[in-house]
Amino acid sequence: MVPTSHYLFLSLALFTIGVVGVVTRRNVIIILMSIELILNAVNINLVAFAHLWKQVSGQVFAIFIITDAAAEAAVGLGIIIAFFRNRETVLADEMDLLKW
């Protein structure tokens, strides 16, 4: 029986790595992948607490989060394709059309 705190710390580590990826990388595709990492960390928390309290609702919420991740990935990658077609770049700091 693994203590729940172990899962919380694993989730924390994955979340922090994801945040580091979002704030330091320039490539938009890798930023999207880091967001997927963050969502996964949240899922670990939800499922760990579902296991702790023997409630299945946490797993249902994890499924909702996976649905959101799918929607976000589809829309985000669509935006990346559209932007790449117009500006020939996938680097986040070159996406400065609104910057004067």
Partner: protein
């Protein structure tokens, strides 16, 4: 004992591949390591008696979303970006701030290590995990489920519209 060994195996795999996702230069390598991280997370789910989430994770994430990612990586031209700088100019500030956030959260977790949490009583995780998830999903969370399906429809239409050359 075996639980702990399995947990540490999956946790190490997940963390190492997550670090590699963030640090690799080539986006294809990042995608491959993200697949490993997601599979390790799926192993954690299996250990937590969440068989349905485990299989959804593998089919949807690894089989669906990651294929989409690799597809887009192939569509956008990578050879140019490979030779450019991979990190922001202010990457050090961002790294320090993100690690500070992680340290704060770790400190909060450490402070609460002796707190006895009281959850809702009378729960039971049965061996028929999929049936149980289905019952809760369609009885208690029917409206969120329908909203999620609308969200997926909107996302699908949005992705098609944005990726189309000429509307």
């Amino acid at each position: 004992m075996l639980d702990l060994i399995l947990f540490y195996f999956f946790a190490t795999l997940a963390i190492v591949s997550a670090v590699l996702v963030v640090t690799r230069r080539n986006a294809v390598h990042s995608a491959i390591f993200l697949i490993t991280a997601l599979l390790a997370t799926a192993g954690i789910f299996l250990q937590l008696q969440a068989e349905f989430v485990f299989i959804v994770q593998i089919i949807l994430y690894v089989g669906g979303i990651m294929v989409l990612f690799v597809f887009v990586i192939m569509l956008v031209n990578l050879d140019v970006t490979l030779r450019q700088m991979q990190f922001n100019r202010g990457w050090l500030v961002g790294l320090v701030l993100a690690v500070a956030l992680g340290a704060q959260l770790a400190y909060a977790l450490f402070l609460g290590r002796n707190v006895q949490l009281t959850g809702p009583a009378g729960g039971e995780l049965s061996a028929q995990n999929t049936e149980q998830v289905g019952q809760v999903l369609f009885q208690n969370y029917l409206l969120p489920f329908e909203i999620a399906s609308i969200l997926l429809l909107v996302a699908m239409i949005g992705a098609v519209v944005m990726a189309k050359k000429r509307i």
